[in-house]
């Protein structure tokens, strides 16, 4: 068959048109919601287990609310917030999206989220733990629901512990190692490990630098005063947290390439058996169970003046421009009901934020015997701690923490200078204008 130049160009143009349109933001995807007034758009990232949980909950919601649909848009985490920001800036955001607590404040503080107070009754917040409920507040109003949390405990390599003669690890929260005891464990491991191996890796890389704050909270310190503006880290607690953690590096208790700006993740160091222990969230349990060939267990993070932990995990929020605020609020309500939250958290190895589920316990679908460690660890999060992390200035504070802790850990910067630097950086970050 003869194809003329004109026919060829025409066919090529027709074939390329969908790609060009997609590149311009148009899409012919079947997943696009129809123009249905009862359709909510919901954008999230997630592991396979998490997405399966969301799909299951959506199916239940649609069944319970005949005529309503929820269009799930699952995107990679790396693209999630550049997409969301672009959509918010263009005035065309999804109705619902998922957001980490440390990023929540930025959206709530800039008027991008739906105030849920008119759509939920006054007792709605009582279903959540105080720490979880505090993490979705802005100007004393709820702008989201705390869907789940995830906090860090310690995963350890049992063979490495046995080789070092460490035969027992804490099995209850009140037995958790103190900082001094933890230091002894680290030193014991160091003595028995080759120079290329290390006792521990902490998961403070990248935006995970907020997890360093657990050490500050364990020392009973704060980084923001209750007004969430004035820096409060210049304290004995602040200095002890910096001092203790920066000491890991010169003593070779952690790998030198595990500082806060490292591109090597702590979990990978533990997976490759470069370290004997790692600080990790429960979300790693399914993958670790599937891929690791060595025997491993979990125990609690160390404590000092008190036990503490990072308030990881994610909230679900509705956008201020949603055309269906009542339906969006109903969906958020449904997602956080007992059965739905239990199913989601157990399937994805995440921790619930409901009081009743925290009190009654939850069993992960994978390695259920580890559930009490992570639930116990999560119970140490205080509302005052999570409230600070939900500050609208947290994005800027994260940068300050990264720069200063990097200098302290591998740049030899003194503790006093580091604390002063963090304090000055927080003051600049919370200042109203440049």
């Amino acid at each position: 068959m003869h194809i003329s130049r004109r026919q060829f160009l025409g066919a090529a143009g027709a074939a390329a048109a969908p790609l060009l349109l997609a590149g311009c933001g148009f899409t012919t995807s079947n997943s696009a919601p129809a123009a249905n007034s009862n359709t909510l758009t919901f954008t999230t990232w997630g592991t396979d287990s998490e997405l399966a949980g969301f799909r299951s909950v959506i199916a239940g919601f649609e069944k319970a609310n005949a005529g309503s649909t929820v269009a799930l848009n699952a995107v990679p985490y790396a693209q999630m917030f550049t997409n969301i920001d672009a959509q918010l800036q263009a005035g065309n955001p999804p109705d619902i999206f998922r957001v980490p607590y440390y990023t929540f404040g930025r959206y709530a503080g800039s008027g991008q989220l739906l105030d849920l107070s008119p759509h939920v009754d006054k007792s709605f917040g009582d279903r959540f733990t105080p720490a979880a409920w505090a993490a979705v507040q802005n100007t004393a109003k709820p702008f989201g629901v705390p869907h789940h949390t995830d906090t860090s405990a310690i995963l350890y390599n049992k063979a490495a512990f046995q080789a070092a003669g460490i035969t027992s690890v804490p099995t209850t929260l009140d037995q958790a190692w103190t900082w001094d005891q933890f230091q002894q464990v680290l030193q014991t491991l160091r003595k028995t490990m080759p120079a290329t191996k290390y006792p521990f890796a902490y998961n403070w890389q990248g935006n995970g630098v907020t997890r360093w704050l657990s050490w500050l909270f364990e020392a009973d310190g704060r980084f923001l005063s209750p007004d969430l503006i004035t820096p409060a880290i210049d304290s004995a607690a602040g200095r002890s947290a910096v001092d203790f953690t920066k000491g890991f590096f010169p003593q070779r208790l952690v790998p030198p390439n595990s500082a806060v700006k490292s591109s090597t993740l702590a979990a990978d160091l533990w997976y490759s058996q470069t370290t004997a222990m790692v600080s990790s969230g429960a979300f790693a349990i399914p993958d670790a169970t599937k891929t690791l060939t060595f025997d491993w267990g979990a125990t609690f993070s160390p404590r000092r003046s008190r036990a503490a932990s990072d308030f990881g995990g994610n909230a679900l929020v509705a956008t201020a421009k949603t055309k269906q605020p009542a339906l969006a609020a109903a969906f958020l309500d449904y997602l956080t009901q007992q059965e739905q939250m239990n199913t989601f958290c157990a399937g994805a190895s995440l921790l619930p934020t409901r009081r009743d589920l925290v009190a009654g316990g939850i069993k992960f679908a994978v390695r259920p015997e580890l559930s009490p460690v992570f639930i116990g660890q999560a119970s140490t999060v205080q509302a005052a701690d999570s409230g600070q992390v939900a500050s609208p200035s947290m994005s800027k504070i994260i940068t300050v923490l990264k720069d200063q802790l990097e200098q302290a850990f591998i740049g030899g910067q003194s503790t006093d200078k580091t604390v002063a630097g963090i304090s000055a950086g927080i003051a600049a970050a919370t200042a109203p204008a440049r």
């Binding site: 700006k261 490292s262 090597t264 591998i410």
Partner: protein
Amino acid sequence: MTTRREIGGVSADVSLAAWSDAAGPPPARPPADPRRKRAGFAGESATAYAFLAPNMLLLLVFVLLPLGWALVVSLQQTNGFGAGTFVGLANYGHLFGDPLFWRSTLNTVLFTIIVTPLSMALGLGVAVLLNSVLPARGLFRSILITPMAISGVATALLGLLLFDENNGVLDKLLMAVGLPAVSWQSGTTAAFASVVLVTLWWRVGFNMLIYLAGMQSIGPELYEAARLDGAGAWQRIRYVTVPLVGPSSFFLLILNVIYSFQVFDIIFVMTGGGPQNATSVLVTYAYDQGFVTRDQGYAAAIGMVLLVLMLIFTAVQWRVSRNRDLVE
């Protein structure tokens, strides 16, 4: 019989037979109608503009408008939401007192100064080799060009496998031969070296390709003449090849400098700007400010500084380059 006549102001010998009286003088060409000429010119211009319009429109929409908008954003304090607050030149003023900006600028310039000449010199060297009668040169050319087909992120991930200081191939090799391991990820100088090495691996093939194309347009008789004049191999490269690939060098210099100033993906993936900001460059710093700190006005100001630096460099290079248009 011929006679000399003036034709069109040019004296020429023409056959008289060609000018028979019967035929008469050749018909004069009627003078062009100036109105028609103008109409034709306008028509041609309209057609040209019509052909140019799609490109101009794309340039306007995707280059000039964002550029203008970035300038506007750089004069604001904004996190991307709402109208932002106009702060004049405050973002630019803030740059002067920001040590991380200066560190990133210094790193960018250092990276450019190291990578540009090295990638060009290595590219030229390899091109000279592969332009000779080297066995299997087609295969070698293909192998060297392969990195061009790999994305920067994938290249950086490969770099991570090589330079990982716990389990990387390079340190294992060094230790296997009794040498000490290098702190590719936690040592500031070593980390900088690692991104330079990966960038060179990525870029030398491209430089080689352009030089090879340039060299293949040089006639072999020039090398033959140089050889007869007693020029050795190095002198032939120095005095024949290098001057005659001037346009390629000019093109590569501009591109390499622009690529180096814009380096992002390799550094973002391999080092994230660390350790201790040793590999932070202007684009990674702008990214951090725009998408981590969410100070988009400040990030835009960094972007404008980067643009101005590149424009200045290109203008200077354009002015001083003597052999950019040199052809054989």
